[in-house]
Point group: none
DNA sequence: GATGAATGAGATTTCATTCAT
DNA sequence: CATGAATGAAATCTCATTCAT
């Protein structure tokens, strides 16, 4: 689909469809959504959908890209990042849990879609890779500074600890395991820090 | 479907369908499988399917139960379990990776199914609960023995570290991250042990 | 579509669809026919159609092949063919007009289909080629016997005179030009014979 | 659609659509053309089309009329027509082949359209009738002059021989039968002339 | 029990045409 | 006049499930 330059109205309609689609996917899952449903939510007729998207799949692809983009954006540890390594890890975990909480269902859908269509697999790998890289480099830096166990493979470790956070987010947010955000961040951070041999800053180690 | 007592032949047919279904689901995913495909694999005619299963979903449910059963079974740390806590963790991780490697695709399908039908959600929760409980109790014991950080919430910790293993298994086996089983088990175990504050047995670092 | 061995009933249904399709195409033209129409005529439900044919086009292809087959068959100048060259031409023309009268609409449809899909073009070329060859060889023989103008290109001539018959058949049968079969065959034959320089047998020139 | 008096600009737009439509139909066939395609070719927006034409069909009708008009015009054997009957036939055949070569695809489309909509049938009959009449009258004149077989039915004969030329044009131009124009005209003319019993002018047989 | 023909609800997609701006 | 967004009536095709033999 060649996206032609759209008028104001066209942009509005397209955006409405995108939003409606995202909501619908979130609520009903990919297969649970019919193009008609999206149209109904967006308040447009059936045919209009195809003015803006080639297919249901194309809509999902766009939603997925938006979600992945948000996940990226939400996890940039900005300039305000704390200097203290432990606090950095805590901040990153908190950000990640929040980003996930906004998009959990859709990312899971994306995982499923990846199972069926490689195109989505690629998107997902990209996403994962960004996080893995970040963790990997963080760990490597700590190792160089003598603050973390130098015998750990940085990539493998980053995958494992990142996976811990991701999977916990899923269990917590999707499967309804009850825990406070504080407790969650605290535990994740303590486990992460200790796992890599980072000496917690004196006075830490409590989730109070 | 009330499973009536089956003749010898009936049992064989049913088993064939079950196996065929499992293979087909594994290969093609739930939606990718048509009842026809299953019948073709099993070498029976289309209509026969409904002699043994109420629906495609019913077949999947049965496959899923079998898989979950195997996951249970495979993870029983038998009487031969090592006494050493660290070795115990290592053994459990190895078993888990192996069990996962046999069933990874189907468990992911089950996760997706749970998204759509609560009935599968229950199965999955049960499965997860077993592992969580096991980890939780293990940790609690270690805490009582003064071998692990007593300030950690046992359940939360078990979920997190268990999630680490599960998610890693997924990344490793399904997403093709390259690593040897040795390295994987070694890292998982070291991270796990250190995360809970278990002093690695002197002279360790390897689980061999 | 792999045509599986069909039961008696299956064969009947398939034949019914084929007949229904042929009738429908004949009456309404390719685009005028919906799969539903064919099913209604055949007295089967919508889905049944796809048990036997992959698509509407596939059905048409089969109808087309049948028609072409009949055209072939109908035009075999059998062993009873007259020895007299003039009478032979007359007999062939009559056969051709009759074959055409049975299939005219469908052959025209096939011509149109060939415009859109090369696959049908091939079928049509085959059909045409058979007739051209036959005419060509007939003429060549006459030329060798000194009965026809030796300076005519046999292929070109066969195409032209064959085209005369075919086009006339179309005008006569499809466009409703009024003429008796006798007059038609008589004129076609006289024109054909004289065009190639065949001396009409003495006492001829009448359509009695 | 009542064609209102158009501004200069309006006329240009309309003409552009007409040309674009003709090209598009020629290239893609009736069904292969979407109104959008025509607009794109003409460089106007979608909605503009309906300012000038009531429907896609109306556009086609106008194109068809233009084509038929050209066929008429192109086949007027002008004042320069040779007096010699044989040469006259040759000239007419040549003109006809050329006219056809310019419009073959569209006339075939018209034939198909006639199949679906009687309105086009009328146009086509008119076209055919003009040629038939011309041939018929030519033959009748020759018969009166004692130059052609008086026993031939003029109309039937004209239809048949005209059909020969038309059908050959189709085979030659549309179906790709290979032949030079010279050979084609020569053969058509010889066959035609001899078929009606016209003694070729002494020294003729070739028009080279 | 087994077979495989029959069913039909439902989903996607196309495109000629209308209409508000 | 021109624009292009919106419409919605078809039409095709899939496949889980039922049922007569």
């Amino acid at each position: 689909m060649i996206v032609k330059s759209l008028t104001q109205r066209g942009k509005r309609t397209r955006a409405a469809l995108l939003t409606a689609g995202r909501d619908a996917f979130e609520e009903c899952g990919y297969d649970g959504v019919r193009v008609d449903d999206v149209c109904a939510r967006a308040g447009v007729s059936h045919g209009t959908f195809y003015t803006y998207f080639d297919s249901k799949e194309a809509l999902f692809a766009e939603v997925a890209e938006a979600v992945v983009g948000e996940m990226f954006a939400a996890n940039v540890v900005g300039p305000s990042a704390p200097a203290d390594p432990y606090a950095r890890i805590a901040a990153a975990n908190r950000l990640y849990l929040r980003a996930w909480s906004a998009n959990s269902r859709l990312v899971r859908m994306l995982e499923h879609a990846a199972t069926v269509d490689d195109r989505f697999g690629g998107l997902l790998l990209e996403l994962r890779e960004v996080f893995v890289r970040r963790g990997e480099e963080g760990l490597r830096r700590l190792q160089q500074q003598g603050l973390a166990d130098a015998s750990l493979d940085p990539r493998l470790t980053a995958i494992m600890l990142g996976g811990m956070v991701e999977q916990f987010a899923h269990v917590w947010l999707d499967l309804g395991e009850r825990a406070s955000e504080e407790a969650a961040v605290d535990h994740l951070t303590r486990l992460w820090a200790r796992a890599i041999g980072l000496t917690p800053p004196s006075g830490s180690g409590e989730e109070a």
